[in-house]
Every structure is written in C-alpha cells, then in structure tokens.
Symmetry: C2
DNA sequence: GAATAACTAGATCGATTGTTCTAGTAGAGT
DNA sequence: ACTCTACTAGAACAATCGATCTAGTTATTC
C-alpha cells in the first residue's frame, strides 16, 4: 500500500499557509497539526522531519520554475519578444505560487546547510537564465547596462518584490500590474 | 545615575548582528547575551523585553530614514535632478544600515501588533514620498507609468532588493552599483 | 483468518524559549 | 556610616520546541 498522496498534500497545503504567514521558525509542527486537526504523529508519518517538510514544499512548487523559464528562454522568436515572454511567464508562475515563493525568500537564511544549498542553487539558476538572455540581447545591441549581473538583480528585484506587496484580494488586476512591471523593466520610469 | 548608554548601544550592535544573521525568532536573548559575554539579566536591564529591544533597533537606525528622504524630496533644484539625488541618498542610507534594514524587511510579519504597525507605517511613509515625487514629475511630463503606486513599488524593489544581494566584501564598488541601479530605474534595460 | 503495511492518537523526551526571582556588588551623594 | 540607584550573575519558572515511543486501529493481500 502506498502512502496516501491526498492527505499528504493536504498537509503540505496547510504547511505552506502557515510558513508563509508565520515563517519557518515561527511555525511549529504542532501548529501545523492543529490547523488541520490531526496529531503530530500524522505529520511525522508523511515527512521525516520539519526540514524535509520544507524541502517537500520547495519541490512541490518552486523547484520546477527554472526549467519552465529555460523553456521560454530557449524558445523560438525574436530576442526581445522572447524576453518579454520570459518576464510574463516568470510573473505568472510566481503569482501562481505566491505563498511558497514568499517562504522561499523570507526564510532562506534559517535553513540547515542542505536546505540553504538547494535554495541558493535555484536562485543561481534563475539568475543565470537572465544573464544569458542579456548577453544575447547585448549582442543585438539592445541592452544599455554595463554590468549584466546587476541588471539581472534589478529585474529579479521587481518580480520578487511584487510578491511582497501584491494582494490577490486587492483592486489592481494582475494583467495591469504585469504590464506595468514589464514596461518598467524595459524602459524605466522616464519618458523619452 | 543614568543608564550606561555605551553598554546599552554595545548590546544593540550585537543584537543587530544576530537578528540580521538568524532572524528575530531565530535569535534568543541568551544568544545575544552570550555573544557579548554578559548575563541575561544585563539584557533585561537595558530593555524591557525582546520586542522592546527590536523596537530600539528600529529607532536606532531605520526610524530616521523617512525624514532624511523628505528633506531631499522637498529640497531645491530641478525635479529630475532632485529625484536622482533622492535615489542616491536612499541607496546610501540603506547601505549604511544594511543589517538593520535587512532585519526590517525579513521579519516584518513576525512582530507583535505594535511592532507591525510601526513597521508598516515607516514603509508607507517612504512609499508616499516616492508617489508624491512621481506626481510632481508627471506634471512636468517626465513619467511614463500609468500607475504611480506600482511604479513606486518597482523603484523601492530595486533599492530594497539590493540590500539582499550586496556583499560589502565583494568586488563590486558601491558607486558602480548605485549608478547602475539609478540608470535602471530611470531608463530600464533597453537601449533607445 | 493470519499477516503485513498504512496510518493514527497521545504521552513523553530532553532541550530551549522568554521572562522572573533572588541575592548580591559597586559607586556616588548625603 | 547610610542610602539609593545602577548594575550584575545565576538559578529558577512555565511554556513550547522538534522529535520519539508506545500502543493501538484500520485496510489490503494472500
């Protein structure tokens, strides 16, 4: 008999909620069990320990992001249009997993060495995808920045910061925000 | 006899280090005391409790930022030049208090209601300074964005994110990064 | 129907948490 | 000499932490 995937994922869902709200250290196993009205044993039945639970969340959500972005980055089309598409997909995927991505960034320093390494690696992968894109765009004379790494940090800044202030219950539409962010990344705030 | 300001501030310094490294929840009073080789009582002598210690750090560092920014924002000069100066000062001040500002953003959700309110208020103040600047620049036809609030979030994104990746020990100079960020904010990544 | 694996509740573990209490020392002002 | 305040160390507190252990209940397979 294999483990009950459904009950495991239910647990994962509630854990994401609590981690996103109160952080990794701020959320206890008991909190998680209580929130879904099960016993502590139930949590430990599906996950070896707290850290494994955390890593399962990563796998469940953020892990696949680099691959998805690479697909777009290496896809067909004109370089600049493809880059715009990359931004859009990145924004959409991040929004889809807003809570998890939030966790991902908020508590990165609070993990065990193993967790830290995985975390850093995913971030590095994403950064590299962008730097590579910039190099390509640069060869077409489409990039103004001198330091491509700083540029990548700046672009990631707008995307990742968006996850902090965006409120799904708010009155701004996602499409409106996406367009505004993409326009900002491409041309900044100034006219001309 | 008044409280020994020097020993208090020493305590504050070490607390900033630990909070920045391991977070608010991840740092215990004992950790702080041990790091500076004093007793727990010593910490409680200078600060009522853990939260007051946190708030003291805020006061010690981040609290004055809005006022400094307002000074520049309401200063003399051409609107766009003044705005550039605003960005520069903001970047400089944030770098000066990098550890504290990091704490400020990382653990904002982990505070008591009182702490949360103070935290949110400072962030709101800063946001408003930028939105006001954009309104002024807009009246001179210098801003391309439609939604000024989103624009403000994007600008703050680049500044605050910078604090996450910037390594004072690294080989990039601060001035180089500042210029690159300011250029990005004003004109984005594209040529033309 | 026996055997095996999946799952569960609840007590319990030692360690650590924020905080308080007790009992003091040091030094300045009177 | 006495008093008051500033300061200190270290034991002690109840609560909570991640984790484990015991003892059980289901459900499936042969």
């Amino acid at each position: 008999m294999t483990k009950n995937r459904y009950r495991r994922d239910e647990l994962l869902e509630i854990a994401i909620d609590l981690f996103a709200e109160k952080g990794y250290v701020g959320t206890s196993i008991r909190d998680i069990a209580k929130a879904i009205d099960r016993s502590v044993s139930n949590v430990y039945h599906y996950f070896e320990n707290k850290e494994e639970l955390w890593l399962a969340i990563l796998e469940y959500s953020v892990q696949g992001l680099p691959e998805k972005l690479r697909m777009v980055a290496h896809g067909e089309g004109e370089p600049l249009e493809r880059f715009k598409k990359l931004l859009k997909v990145h924004l959409e995927e991040s929004t889809k997993h807003q809570r998890e991505t939030k966790i991902f960034f908020i508590d990165e320093e609070r993990l065990s060495p193993k967790g830290k390494i995985i975390n850093k690696q995913i971030q590095k992968e994403i950064l590299d995808i962008y730097v590579e894109q910039f190099r390509l765009l640069q060869s077409h004379n489409l990039v103004r920045a001198r330091n491509l790494k700083i540029l990548a940090f700046n672009v990631l800044a707008t995307i990742n910061w968006f996850l902090r202030w965006y409120d799904p219950e708010g009155n701004m539409s996602k499409e409106e925000i996406y367009d505004e962010i993409i326009d900002f990344v491409l041309h900044g705030m100034c006219t001309k």
